[in-house]
């Protein structure tokens, strides 16, 4: 199977989300140890969400660099201001 999506669109969505995430003062990477960190950072999940959201739009028929750019911007804003409220971290973690 050949990749039929425009790879550049994905790179634009990912890059814009990453850069705007950093501008919005999200950390680049989660705190260490990363596997236990709940911090929302520019790389994870913002960049991953950006390419996922662009893939959804692509399949719905909205394609192109402009769509990728807007997806990246909205994803970074979403990750910064809404994500934590939508899916909050668990309130009390039981200590082992």
């Amino acid at each position: 199977m050949i990749i039929h999506a425009n790879v550049f669109s994905y790179i634009i969505a990912l890059g814009v989300a990453l850069i705007l995430g950093l501008v919005l003062r999200l950390p680049l990477l989660p705190d260490k140890p990363m596997r236990d960190s709940w911090t929302i950072s520019a790389v994870f999940p913002t960049a991953v969400l950006a390419i996922g959201f662009y893939a959804m739009l692509y399949e719905l028929g909205y394609q192109g660099y402009i769509v990728a750019l807007i997806t990246g911007i909205i994803t970074a804003l979403f990750a910064k201001f809404i994500l934590e409220k939508l899916v909050p971290r668990p309130e009390s973690e039981e200590s082992p």
Binding site: M1, I3, H4, A5, P30, P33, M34, R35, D36, S37, W38, F44, P45, V48, L49, I51, G52, F53, Y54, A55, M56, Y58, E59, V87, R89, P90, E94, P96
Partner: protein, 167 residues
């Protein structure tokens, strides 16, 4: 490619994909939620390994790399490669966060199997081989002989430095 051979090879690839990612992300280290702890303790009581039991409990209780692998395979089959895998990664991430899990294992598993499906498509593998392969891979962990599987997972966790400190 022969279908049966493809499914067997896909099952092996899926097994390594999800077991290595889940172990690396620390699933055997501690139970994420109460249910995972109950399963881990029960496996240990039946002669299994506690870290392996936590691993098995965690993959039951939240969508980790196992679910990421399965969902990405299904999405690649239904929607196409790589869009399906990328969409699956987003859905798995939200599923993870709802299940009190930060979401690294599930998302990594979905993205890695998307890359694998894309690369193996050049040698004749189809996404549906990976769907069946993943079901078989989970069967070997959860279905056939749970205590034996937990001991194998515990040994792997020790090798990768992710063994549980709980007793």
């Amino acid at each position: 490619m022969n279908e049966i051979l493809g499914i067997v090879l896909a099952a092996i690839i899926c097994w390594f994909n999800f077991v290595l990612i889940d172990t690396w992300m620390g699933l055997p280290e501690s139970p994420g939620v109460k249910g995972a702890e109950v399963i881990g303790r029960s496996v240990k009581k039946r002669g299994g390994d506690l870290a392996g039991g936590f691993f098995q409990g965690n993959i039951v209780c939240s969508p980790d790399a196992s679910a990421g692998t399965l969902l990405a395979s299904i999405a690649c089959y239904a929607i196409g490669t790589p869009e399906g895998g990328l969409i699956a990664a987003v859905l798995v991430y939200f599923g993870n966060r709802i299940c009190a899990d930060p979401g690294y294992a599930g998302t990594t598993g979905a993205l890695s199997i998307t890359v694998i499906i894309y690369l193996t498509s050049f040698i004749g593998f189809k996404p549906e081989y990976f769907i069946v392969g993943m079901v078989l891979a989970i069967l070997t962990i959860q279905g056939l002989y749970q205590t034996g599987a937990s001991r194998l997972l515990g040994k792997l966790a020790q090798k990768m430095g992710r063994y549980t400190k709980l007793t």
